[in-house]
Symmetry: C2
Subunit: 442 residues, 2 copies
């Protein structure tokens, strides 16, 4: 009988181990990212899990004979002596003693991925995604994406939130409207979730504080640089709040935690991407109506939409926050009730507005949140006033009927945050395999 | 101008703070789980985020007057003096000085949720999910679920895996077959993902080691106690493996890490559920053909299916592993090639079998994994032999064409693991809001 022990043997070392192995002969594996043949010596740049590692061949280093057939995208194990890189402070390189080829590609790459910048059109980038992502700058985006979601989770667990996993096949769209994907489910017409809204409110009655990071789906019928048809929503919902300020504070603290994590644990990728992380001290807050007035008076813009912001207006508000308060973020509160969903709580003092907010960052909205209606009678009344079929929402309203504390929460779009953080103009840059009006492959 | 600082004020303490506040007057919030009125004193059991907290009213404790209308599912803030619970070692209770009602339910609960066991049929439990989950034992299942996924992620991050988020709307089912949900995507017929298989293999070419925890969808046309139509798959995929033993070792190490995390950080729920965690030392490994023989010779069972196990056979194998090797887990390897997907690598020594495995635990398969074909020509050949339309998979095969290291991985069903771990006979117990043939609400 054979047994599996769970002991993980590390057959090759990582680049991070180089510092402790100077002058020793070690093995490292990776993908050949670039080969440069010079006079008398050659460079092999290995692409490893997170870093590029420079290996140098010279007949002076060993008896190993250079095989002219080493080429890009081969998987190899390189053995050699670790030495300090004399041209780059604090970096190490490998003097090649041996190269073992583990696997080879069938064809040469149709695009150049081993330059700093991937110089192809967005469309080519996305069509060739499996290989364009091999460009160090492209893949670094998704290490940062990992870090953001990881920071979000770690922070909320620390704050005694429970992570939940709610269904994506649902009976009704949380946001309503036409942009819902419909699905045949054993003869029944159902939807793909637009938001975990109903479930996270329900779960406030169970765990008080919950969060989820998961996919949501919006059948938006237009291609823009700010929308995806499938994206990752980072959601939380918390009970026993005094006001929606509790939610804005929780988000601000989460963002600080995330930025700190990126700075410390994702320095490699921050450097590759030359990203400028925002400094978050305090975030200014402005009411929706005041913001509209400001845009009109200060920026001389004629307001045509009194219910929502146009993209240009969000940019102006961010410009204002940056200039006046040195903040790249700004909270806008008290959005008109007519533009917010039925579960948003109205402000008792200004019943046309809601106790809700958006968070804008570098010119675009990255979060929508607010306090929710928790009282059953009040929620039913609001739905009836909107002409909704209350019975359809029976299973959602069960939580209200049998008691919910005052609560609220938010949704934070992961791809929007990562692209704005890294300064990309198109949200597709922040999605591994984006889904848009025309694209479901790869 | 108003500002948000991100400073989180803790207005009420948690039960975990009680130990440091003995004899002090504190406030705690929660949901009234049970009220017991006795002669001369009353009990209020509060349901808080993770624990039940006992509060006692007596006119001796303060001038506070008991309001006879306190009832179950009200959200309250209770203020009082922390004292040691004399009947339960190491526990604390609160002598009530004040009760503030924050919100009240509209109706009385249709089921009893405040007994230890929720004594309702599965169907009632699921129909009333928003409130049945308020039962401490029911909700504890999902804290354990959180812990399993958290342990999986933490362990893999430590092993230098990158967390990825791949699309759920896809162009082709990874597992093939009829059980794919179809979807109209702007006039195109597409699928809901059955597995992140194609994407995680693709991402081996980018990050070498990747994992994902996310929903997958299977249009199974039968209701069983072991299947869900939407479930959470915990997947990883790793490059530069020597054999599929590397994958089994990684899984075994991950399971050890997870069990350790549950024992230390989820002791509250382990206790509530009286769960018996498996001890994992080494896990025995048996070949599929040997397992079939064993079942026939040792357990005198007539084999009718030579390509796969029947549920009873999986139970027998687990019984065998437990009895002979003291292990609640057993790996079965070398499944017949004909029953494994096209991307599974065949064993060069026994070409009818694959370098693949299942992991069985307490009578049921919880993981399928193995080494994959990484060579482009070999993969195309295998697909052609199966009569597949290779062109359809162009975007998947791009990774192979332009080079992939030897690699493999696995998928671990979260709901199966959690229900088996906690000893529930029906997988629905391990899903917050299960989706089956007849159920899409709540």
């Amino acid at each position: 009988m054979e047994y599996i022990s769970g002991i993980i043997e590390k057959k090759h070392i990582d680049y991070t181990d180089f510092a402790n192995n100077v002058d020793k002969v070690v093995s490292i594996h990776g993908i050949i990212h670039r080969v440069r043949e010079m006079t008398g010596f050659n460079f092999v740049i290995l692409r490893t899990k997170r870093e590029e590692v420079q290996c140098i061949y010279s007949p002076d280093f060993s008896n190993f004979e250079w095989d002219e057939n080493y080429f890009e995208q081969q998987a190899v194990v390189v053995t050699g002596k670790v030495v300090a890189d004399e041209t780059r402070e604090g970096r190490y390189e490998l003097q090649i003693h041996d190269v073992e080829v583990v696997s080879s590609p069938a064809e040469e790459m149709p695009i150049t991925i081993n330059k700093k910048q991937l110089n192809v059109e967005m469309d080519t980038n996305l069509t060739l995604r499996p290989i364009s992502l091999r460009n160090p700058k492209e893949r670094a985006i998704f290490k940062i994406q990992e870090g953001i979601a990881r920071g979000f989770k770690e922070f909320l667990l620390k704050e005694n939130f429970t992570e939940i996993r709610t269904p994506k096949i649902v009976f009704a769209g949380a946001e309503g409207g036409a942009n819902v994907f419909k699905l045949d489910y054993f003869g029944k017409e159902v939807c793909l979730t637009q938001s975990p809204q109903f479930y996270k409110q329900t779960m406030v009655g169970v765990f008080e504080r919950v969060f989820e990071v998961g996919p949501v789906f919006r059948a938006e019928h237009h291609n823009t640089s700010r929308h995806l048809n499938e994206y990752i929503s980072m959601d939380f919902e918390m009970g026993f709040i005094d006001s929606f300020h509790d939610i804005m504070n929780m988000e601000t603290a989460a963002l600080k935690y995330i930025m700190n994590m990126l700075e410390t644990e994702y320095a490699i990728e921050i450097e590759i991407l030359k990203a400028k992380l925002p400094k978050i001290d305090t975030i200014p807050v402005i009411k929706f109506s005041d913001a509209k007035e400001l845009i009109q008076t200060k920026y001389k813009k004629v307001i045509t939409d009194f219910m929502d912001f146009e993209p240009e207006e969000e940019q102006l508000l961010c410009k204002y926050a940056e200039k006046e308060f040195g903040s790249e973020f700004i909270f806008v509160t008290h959005y008109p009730s007519a533009k917010r969903p039925f579960y948003a709580m109205d402000d008792a003092n200004e019943p046309d507005t809601t106790l809700s907010f958006d968070l804008l960052f570098r010119g675009v909205e990255i979060t929508t949140g607010g306090q929710r209606v928790h009282d059953y009678a009040a929620q039913v009344k609001k739905m009836e006033e909107r002409g909704m079929n209350v019975e359809e929402f029976d299973s959602y309203l069960m939580a209200h009927k049998y008691g919910l504390p005052p609560h609220g929460g938010l949704g934070l779009g992961l791809e929007r945050l990562v692209t704005k953080l890294l300064g990309f103009p198109n949200i597709r840059s922040g999605s591994l395999f984006p889904r848009d009006l025309t694209r479901v492959t790869p």
